[in-house]
């Protein structure tokens, strides 16, 4: 055989090996699915439960009532019914007694005293909580009066986070 015959044979063998591997891989290849995603339950919640690491109050520049508010649209709650069921409202492990539970809404008032290192009260904050259970979403509103009150509450929520729950009493 001539030298180029060897070369051609060698090339054919190498190409054959390569094509053989590729052929094997392509023949063996199958469609596959890795993992799954299910976010269908992320568009509503069975009971109201809001948690966050902070709360920031906004003040409308054109509002002269010194009102500072935090508003948030949340997932709709499936079966809230204040007329037929009893609920309790819990903010950061504090049960908010005296909450007004209506057919589709909850109102609470929170009073919080902040003490300095000498045990003196440096700020007395009052915050109104309103939760409206609407057909497509839940509206949470926190309102306080005065910049000092808003600032202390922001600091409190920054330190402790906020965990607000409306729990059905069975």
């Amino acid at each position: 055989m001539k030298w180029y015959t060897y070369l051609i044979c060698f090339i054919l063998i190498v190409v054959g090996v390569f094509c053989g591997i590729e052929l094997y891989r392509e023949v063996k290849a199958e469609s596959y699915v890795n993992g799954s995603i299910d976010i269908s339950n992320k568009f509503s919640q069975e009971s109201f439960n809001y948690s966050s690491t902070s709360v920031v109050f906004y003040h409308d520049l054109y509002d002269d009532t010194d009102t500072y508010s935090f508003e948030k649209d949340l997932l709709k709650v499936e079966d809230f019914n204040g007329e037929k069921k009893e609920y309790k409202v819990i903010l950061n492990d504090y049960v908010l007694i005296g909450s007004e539970i209506n057919a589709g809404s909850v109102f609470s008032v929170v009073n919080m005293d902040f003490y300095d290192t000498n045990g003196n009260i440096v700020c007395n904050s009052t915050m109104k909580i309103s939760i409206q259970f609407l057909s497509n979403k839940t509206q949470l509103t926190l309102v306080t009066t005065g910049q000092e009150s808003a600032s202390f509450l922001e600091q409190y929520f920054s330190d402790n986070g906020i965990r607000l729950r409306v729990i059905e009493i069975l």
Binding site: C9, G35, L74, D113, F152
Partner: protein, 430 residues
């Protein structure tokens, strides 16, 4: 010897013929027989395997760790013009294939403003300059525990060389930005007397700026509007996913499957407001400043302790009728006491108005505080309002209450049992 050479040559030719046949078979199969195969990767929650399997954690603790999606975004649109526009994107991943909570790591990018896809200029890049490119328009942050974030140099770089370990089906995979965008332009060639338009292929190597802008566009166009929601985004154009092969210890790219789709959950917060301070950031930092706030005159909010103030009134108590005193004694019921036992920082005030509508409706005449009415229950201020009347404080009614202030109406007089109360308090006559 000659015979051996002939045999060798024959074998060599035989192998070459087999090689040719295999090549032809491959060509035939590849171009005429082969069916399309698709691979789909779904990137869901990235909770560590040890947390999912842990028996030590309560359900509540597990709920705290419940959500850790590969991509999380924060978008303050500032539509109300009450802050600054802020956009953030965070990637949650693992540092190794163990997929344990010890291998948690998150890296994020932050943009001050409202970046739109249309703001990006499509220009050709070389692979070399694209590989390590990181847009300087962003601030970048890194964390292992999700609490303490840091920026600057000693963090994970968000460029095309970064490969993150993620969890799919409780198995380790690697995800890396490898996508490109190609387009063709035409150039007239002098050698054809400017008659021939020579096609030139341009390549844009995607970087994280492109991913970021697309994610923000997806959030901006979501049908739910403002709020906290989840969407599934198609990352196939940008990212390549490689599965970890346990036997070889290597991440292997799938280059056989014809169509590979990569989907990921994008959890986002889309806000109508502008961002006001750094606590609203996913990283607790805005513009590399952990104390960022648009309010110039900040109030000193340093405090030692907070106490939730409760005011209990008529309808929060139990009442017992006494034939001897011809009236009702009130006391704290056990359920209320138990509830406050679980709230040690509660500060409780008690307000009783003897002329209240509640007492009139229930036809209750209060004559005092019952035996052990509030024993062991901390009270800050006790206020009793009424007309001219004697009020009895029976034994241990205010024992161990640490009462600070006792307020009462001018006309009220008190008959206090010897050990009704065991601490000093200030009196205020209303």
């Amino acid at each position: 010897m000659k015979t051996l050479k002939v045999i060798g040559n024959c074998c060599f030719v035989f192998l070459a013929i087999i090689g040719l046949c295999v090549s032809l078979a491959y060509g035939y199969y590849h171009f005429f027989v082969k069916d399309i195969t698709t691979g789909t990767n779904y990137i869901d929650n990235q909770i560590a395997l040890d947390i999912v399997a842990s028996d030590d954690l309560t359900e509540e603790q597990k709920n705290e760790f419940e959500e850790r999606y590969f991509m999380e975004a924060n978008f303050f649109s500032n539509a109300k013009n009450n802050g600054i526009a802020l956009q953030e994107l965070k990637f949650n991943y693992f540092t190794d294939y163990s997929l344990s909570s010890n291998a948690y790591r998150s890296t994020g990018m932050q943009y001050l403003g409202d970046l739109k896809q249309s703001d990006l200029v499509i220009t050709e890049t070389t692979e070399q300059e694209a590989q390590r490119y990181e847009s300087s328009a962003f601030s970048y942050y890194d964390t292992t525990n999700g609490v303490s974030w840091e920026g600057n140099k000693l963090r994970t770089q968000l460029n095309r060389e970064s490969a993150f370990t993620i969890k799919i089906d409780n198995r380790a995979f690697q995800i890396q930005l490898t996508g490109t965008y190609e387009w063709t332009t035409y150039k007239r060639s002098w050698w054809s007397l400017w008659l021939y338009n020579q096609p030139i292929t341009n390549i844009l190597y995607y970087n994280y700026l492109n991913v970021f802008a697309d994610c923000m566009e997806a959030i901006r166009t979501n049908n739910q509007g403002y709020g906290d929601y989840y969407i599934t985004v198609d990352l196939s154009e940008y990212f390549t996913i490689r599965e970890y092969d346990m036997s070889s210890g290597k991440y292997k790219e799938d280059n056989v499957t014809d169509i590979i789709k990569n989907y990921s959950v994008l959890k986002f917060h889309y806000d109508e407001n502008g961002a006001r301070n750094s606590t609203q950031s996913l990283f607790g930092i805005i513009d590399c400043n952990p104390s960022y706030d648009i309010v110039e005159e900040e109030i000193d909010t340093t405090y030692w302790q907070e106490r939730m103030v409760y005011t209990l009134d008529e309808d929060d108590f139990s009442y017992r009728y006494s034939d001897v005193y011809q009236g009702y004694f009130f006391s704290l019921n056990m359920d209320t006491k138990k509830m406050f036992d679980e709230m040690p920082r509660a500060k409780v005030n008690i307000n009783i108005d003897l002329n209240s509508q509640y007492f009139k409706d229930k036809n209750i005449t209060v004559v005092g505080l019952d035996y052990n009415a509030f024993e062991g229950f901390e009270i800050d201020t006790l206020t009793i309002k009424g007309n001219t009347q004697k009020i009895y404080l029976l034994k241990k009614s205010l024992y161990d209450t640490q009462l600070q202030t006792f307020k009462y109406s001018n006309g009220l007089t008190f008959d206090i049992a010897q050990n009704a109360i065991n601490n000093e308090y200030s009196e205020v006559v209303l």
